[in-house]
């Protein structure tokens, strides 16, 4: 790396093992979420059951967080010119902390163990903290250039969302585990934590990634510049305002701002679906369809949140959680994994001077298509499970197979990568 240009990051790609460990661990949390649904009693009866809290955190702080942190190590250098320093050390330590943290937190929530909840939350915060500090160190040294794309800025905003979500989560862990008093009622603090995780972290990260991935990889028209310029800052400002309104019991303002945030996220999903419908690629593959299905699930999730505003029935918030977390984020993330992992294996072989099998030889279409179809079946069973308790167990069994299959498909790439190295 040239000292005259200390932040220019892409002269060396992070070692394959840095992101891969996150991608291979992530599905294990999905499998555990399936087990919770399969063996737990009345898990989807409300958002407050121990099983529901455990399953949500297995998906959000386990599956999603692992993939997102792993992928950011690859995306930050390419999209934002940010080189994560000591990448293997950061990957190793944050991966271990996130893995034990999510396991402890989910286990603590499922079995009512206060120490595990607090310990898990602290480990999670530690893992997130290590990654954020490393990313910040890289950001400070990254080149300051004026560019048309807003993706690098929005990736930074998403990291703010992650930090807020994590700190709120730790405060909640102490409130639940030690009875620590919070300045606002517990239920409101949970809403803040969930909204920051969904929109401030996951939503902005998904959007920032989409600004780049959808037009370039799916060959669609670009997102309108005016939309990408304002969307993430407006959502973040809206979240701050909504949080203040909720914290000060300004209910009217809270409802207006909450509705505006839902509409903003809805606008992103609708715009993405419209752009994707104009793709120039004539042979959209299973991950493309899965990404679109994820956007539709997000929209349905927003509708469920809207229903929750007018009808206080507990099932609406559970339905929204199922649609947004499993249908939306887990679907979009699975679709992206099917592109990222074979490409990283291919890149690693090519950079080692080995003749690499093409992407579809590293990971054939058929198992990908079948696994993504199962994902939709699981979503349907989960939606049914919100209203019919017995269906939740079936959804759990299917979810266990879904994430097991995802893991097998990832391992298939690793096996083909190893074979290519040996020949």
């Amino acid at each position: 790396m040239s000292s005259a240009n200390p932040g220019l990051a892409y002269e060396d790609t992070p070692p394959l093992s840095a992101p891969l460990r996150f991608f291979l661990t992530a599905p294990l949390f999905g499998i555990c979420a399936g087990l919770v649904l399969l063996f737990g009693d009345g898990v989807l009866d409300s958002r407050w059951t121990p099983g529901a809290l455990a399953a949500v955190h297995l998906l959000a702080a386990g599956f999603m967080l692992q993939v997102m942190i792993g992928a950011l190590q690859q995306i930050l250098p390419v999209v934002a010119g940010v080189r994560v320093p000591a990448v293997l050390g950061v990957a190793g330590s944050s991966h271990a902390l996130l893995t034990f943290g999510a396991t402890g937190l989910a286990g603590g929530l499922a079995f009512g163990l206060p120490d595990a909840i607090i310990g898990g939350a602290m480990l999670l915060l530690g893992g997130i903290g290590i990654f954020l500090i490393a990313a910040l160190a890289g950001l400070i040294r990254s080149p300051s250039v004026k560019i048309a794309s807003h993706a690098p800025r929005d990736l930074r905003l998403a990291l703010i969302g992650l930090a807020v979500t994590a700190v709120l989560g730790l405060a909640l862990a102490f409130a639940i585990g030690r009875g620590a008093s919070l300045p606002i009622p517990l239920a409101q603090a949970v809403d803040l934590h969930a909204a920051w995780g969904w929109l401030g972290w996951g939503g902005i990260l998904l959007a920032a990634t989409s600004w780049v991935v959808v037009p370039m990889f799916q060959i669609t028209p670009s997102y309108p510049a005016r939309f990408t310029r304002w969307w993430a800052p407006v959502v973040l400002a809206g979240l701050v305002s909504w949080s203040l309104a909720r914290s000060t019991a300004a209910d009217g303002a809270g409802i207006v701002l909450g509705t505006a945030l839902m509409l903003a996220f809805g606008a992103f999903t609708i715009l993405t679906l419209r752009l994707q419908s104009r793709t120039r690629r004539s042979t959209p593959d299973a991950p493309f369809h899965a990404f679109r299905a994820a956007m539709l699930a997000m929209l349905a999730g927003i509708a469920a949140l809207g229903a929750n505003l007018v009808d206080d029935g507990g099932q609406w918030s559970v339905l929204a959680g199922v649609l947004i977390l499993h249908g939306g984020f887990a679907g979009a993330i699975s679709a992206m994994l099917y592109k990222i992992v074979p490409f990283l294996a291919w890149l690693n072989l090519t950079q080692a001077g080995i003749r690499a099998p093409n992407m579809k030889k590293l990971l054939p279409d058929i198992p990908v298509k079948q696994q993504l179809k199962l994902h939709l079946a699981v979503l349907a069973a989960l939606v049914l499970g919100v209203f019919v308790a017995a269906a939740a167990r079936i959804a759990g069994l299917l979810m266990l197979i879904e994430f097991g299959w995802l893991l097998l498909n990832m391992l298939r790439v690793v096996r083909n990568w190893q074979r290519a190295r040996e020949t």
Binding site: L8, E11, V79, M216, F217, T283, A356, K360
Partner: protein
């Protein structure tokens, strides 16, 4: 006059459209049409690489003194993509639709991660460091890029 980033990003998109046309025709088993579209894509891609390697990168290296930095990485990736293009041509000649789809997918991802680095980092740096010669450089680059990509 546009910036270097605008000019070269526009050419990336034009290459993408040629690529998508070749992919579409191959998927329809229109091998003659796919062959013509692929050659149009190859022409645009090579013209783009040549413009960078012969005009833009030397100007950047002269202005910054960085000869082993990002331009070297980009040159290396051009070599990889030229090799990927040859494999795509071979699949087309063999009329192997599966192999063509796999090679096309690989080249697309390789090309787009390369474009991301250029569009988000290298081109803006070129605009910043070569501002004094921007008009002249853009004019030279425009002459080297595929004519049919001009809008």
């Amino acid at each position: 006059m546009s910036t270097i980033a605008e000019l070269m990003t526009h050419d990336h998109r034009a290459c993408d459209h040629d690529f998508a046309r070749a992919e579409t025709l191959a998927a329809e088993n229109d091998w003659q049409g796919a062959s013509e579209a692929l050659e149009a894509f190859a022409h645009g891609l090579n013209a783009h690489f040549d413009a960078e390697e012969q005009q833009l990168f030397p100007a950047f290296e002269a202005a910054t003194g960085m000869t082993q930095g990002p331009t070297q990485v980009m040159r290396g990736e051009h070599v990889d993509m030229r090799a990927a293009l040859e494999r795509l041509r071979a699949a087309l000649q063999a009329r192997d639709a599966d192999d063509f789809a796999g090679e096309a997918e690989t080249l697309l991802i390789m090309m787009q991660q390369h474009n991301m680095k250029e569009e988000n980092i290298l081109y803006p740096m070129c605009d910043a460091r070569l501002a004094h010669a921007q008009d002249e450089l853009c004019s030279h680059l425009s002459q080297m890029l595929a004519v049919e990509h001009a809008s």
